[in-house]
């Protein structure tokens, strides 16, 4: 019943059968001469059938990544580089960023669907939800009759545990949790292979959050799609994701299996994040929090962006930008990566700085 398969090894490695590969994606905000570089060469791979969690504090660019990958970023967002390769069931790869409008429209929702944070705002207040589900279906199945589309919509509603007679309800007549489920039903209507969920449960309270999360897990088991799940609630991610990517200031700083991240964080930021929320059960562990505040993306300098808040920073951190590499820890899952100079002793040394070892906290 859990989403996570406890043993890391049993999971299919993402690279084996990727369904979505984001490569070197760069995004700016602002069309003028002085844009904010929000994402810088972000790469991420989503394996088929996998639940990939994307965590990080607010404003680090999680949503930007999700929207940019689908080209839904609102103005003044601008994609300045990279590619987003989608691998269809037939194995064909297409770069979403290079599709023309028509092809992109056709690809959307069948290949890749997205569920936004606020379900309240994701549904047009003036249409009944049945119609909103059906029109997505009809847009991709031109031959389908309206009645069939409605029938399909009803089926989808049932799938997410809402009685089909709600088809004729308006969004405002539904509770927050129901609306979020309607969104999920809508997203799954065309059986997409990738579902991106941007903080789908943040606005809900824990009980409702639990229900939604279970729903997603169950549906994934049944329909076999892949999920990118975005939230800054790491504890939630650890529960539901197979793999977690931690973002900081527009970059991915750690990418590993979820239990690995939880139990053996390799990046100081991941580690600090895990020490920022109190545990509900078990011993009362010491909470350290993260000192300072996130950097302003508009004024990022070189080097590691976390260094000002990092307990393990030294002079190399100001000069060298860390790269995502396998952690410098023995016996680690070779597929996990992290972006910290502590794990790149050779590069540090090559640049003429004193190479420091991985601290015990990050090597456990």
């Amino acid at each position: 019943m859990t989403l996570t398969t406890p043993e890391t090894g049993a999971r299919r490695a993402p690279a084996d059968d990727p369904v979505l590969e984001i490569r070197n994606l760069s995004v700016d905000y602002g069309y003028d001469d002085d844009p904010v570089h929000v994402l810088r060469d972000v790469s991420l791979t989503l394996g088929r059938g996998e639940v990939l969690g994307l965590a990080g504090e607010s404003g680090c660019g999680k949503s930007t990544l999700a929207y940019a990958a689908t080209r839904l970023l609102p103005p003044p967002g601008l994609i300045t580089g990279g590619e987003v390769l989608f691998t269809g069931r037939d194995g064909r790869k297409t770069d979403i960023l290079r599709l023309d409008d028509q092809s992109l429209r056709e690809s959307r929702w069948q290949d890749l669907a997205i569920v936004f944070q606020g379900a309240m705002n994701s549904l047009s207040p003036v249409y009944r939800i049945g119609r909103q589900i059906a029109d997505g279906i009809l847009a991709h199945r031109p031959g389908m009759s309206k009645a069939d589309a409605m029938a399909r919509a009803a089926e989808m509603l049932e799938l997410v545990g809402i009685s089909p007679d709600r088809l004729r309800s308006y969004p405002h007549q539904l509770s927050g949790g129901m609306r979020q489920r309607v969104m999920i039903a809508m997203a799954l209507a065309l059986e997409p292979q990738v579902l991106i969920m941007d903080e789908p449960t943040t606005a809900l309270d824990v009980v409702m959050q639990r229900q939604i999360v279970e729903q997603i897990a169950e549906l994934r088991d049944r329909l076999g799609f892949s999920v990118i799940f975005i939230t800054h609630d790491v504890s939630l991610l650890i529960e539901i994701a197979d793999r977690i990517a931690i973002m900081y200031a527009g970059e991915i700083v750690e990418d590993a299996a979820s239990l690995d991240v939880y139990q053996r964080p390799r990046h100081p930021y991941s580690s600090a994040l895990l020490h920022s929320f109190p545990p509900l059960r078990g011993p009362r562990r010491e909470l350290t929090g993260i000192p300072g505040s996130p950097p302003d993306l508009a004024k990022l300098g070189g080097g590691c962006h976390f260094r000002d808040r990092c307990a393990f920073a030294w002079d190399a951190c100001a000069a060298l930008a860390p790269r995502l590499t396998a952690p410098d820890v023995a016996d680690d899952d070779p597929r996990r990566t992290t972006a910290c100079l502590r794990h790149e002793p050779e590069r540090v040394a090559a640049a003429g700085f004193e190479a420091k070892p991985v601290p015990a906290e990050l090597a456990g």
Binding site: Y67, L72, D101, R108, N121, D135, S169, Y170, M183, M186
Partner: protein, 326 residues
């Protein structure tokens, strides 16, 4: 129920207040209809006529203002608006009934056109922000900043006097008799074209702007992005999602502007010698024709209130959030 009661009470109070103001304003104005008539005629009506005119208009008795006010309400409840001084002895209701259709017809069509075109343009401009479409805004702004009569007079000079494309004045060819014939209707349309066009041009900017701003606001709503994410066609997203939501406030202000149509566009009617209620009101004010003035105000007030009710209802129909159901 309480909501409707409150709305109802609101309408009743507004109606009462407006009628009361309408009653008192003309009466505290200096002058009276007889003197106004004599002044207007500048010597063509001998001054001895004053006494006889006073008797004619029934202004020779002294009743207190309060009594007149009560009488006015009594008459109102009987549906009697009194008799116009200017068009003595025609009842005010007849005078208004004669002018109203013209105003409603012309200004109504112009307003509908202006709303439709303006909203469509606004939709386009708002949707395609940052493109050449934006440059339409200053142009339309210019026309809304120009005084209407100025625009109209220049239009008359150019299109009627110089080019002779359109008639300069009147509501229809004066040699025709109003009836439902092609000739007459054609003539009405022909005569109405220039006035309607000038109204459209000078009022369209408000609709464009309102719709454009609303489109911009709505476009950044998540549901529009979701619609795009669903892969709907551009048209479906733009009209079905963005414009459909952006239009809500437009529609209610449209309903309201329909109410103000009845007030007519006084200046248009003066400039184009168009028969209508705006000019009638202007005449009534100049002539101190209280009954007519009050009657017209009443009609306008009622129209605006009805339009408000319509706006309430329209909003209810278009925006399910206001509807109380399941």
């Amino acid at each position: 129920m309480r909501f409707f009661l409150r709305r109802g009470l609101f309408y009743v109070i507004t109606f009462w207040a407006a009628v009361t103001i309408n009653f008192f304003i003309p009466r505290i104005m200096p002058g009276d209809p007889v003197r106004a008539l004599i002044a207007r005629n500048q010597g063509r009506i001998p001054s001895e006529a004053e006494a006889s005119l006073r008797i004619l208009f029934g202004l020779d008795q002294d009743t207190t203002l309060w009594q007149q006010y009560l009488d006015y309400w009594a008459l109102l409840f009987r549906g009697d608006l009194g008799i116009s001084f200017t068009y003595f002895p025609t009842p005010v209701s007849d005078v208004i009934a004669q002018a109203l259709p013209w105003t409603i017809g012309l200004v109504g069509i112009a307003t509908i056109l202006s709303f439709t075109i303006g909203t469509l343009l606004g939709t386009g401009i708002g949707w395609r922000r940052g493109t050449w479409a934006d440059s339409l805004l200053p142009i339309s702004t210019f026309f809304s900043a120009v005084p209407y009569f100025w625009l109209a007079l220049i239009a008359i000079t150019i299109f009627s006097v110089t080019l002779g494309w359109f008639p300069a004045s009147g509501s229809y060819d004066r040699s025709l008799i109003p009836m439902w014939s092609w000739e007459f209707v054609g003539s009405v349309i022909y005569y109405g074209t220039l006035p309607a066009l000038t109204i459209v041009i000078s009022s369209i900017s408000g609709w464009i702007l309102g719709m454009r701003n609303m489109m911009v606001t709505v476009s950044s709503e998540d549901y529009v992005t979701v619609a795009q994410a669903k892969g709907l066609s551009e048209r479906a997203v733009m009209f079905g999602y963005a414009a459909r939501n952006a239009i809500l406030p437009q529609v209610s202000s449209f309903a309201l502007s329909l109410g103000f149509i009845v007030g007519g566009t006084l200046v248009m009617e003066i400039v184009f010698s168009y028969q209508g209620i705006g000019y009638l009101l202007f005449t009534a004010v100049a002539a101190k024709d209280y009954p007519l003035m009050q009657g017209i105000f009443l009609v306008i007030t009622v129209a605006v209130l009805i339009a408000n009710i319509v706006a309430d209802i329209a909003y209810g129909i278009l925006d399910p959030r206001t509807r109380q159901e399941g």
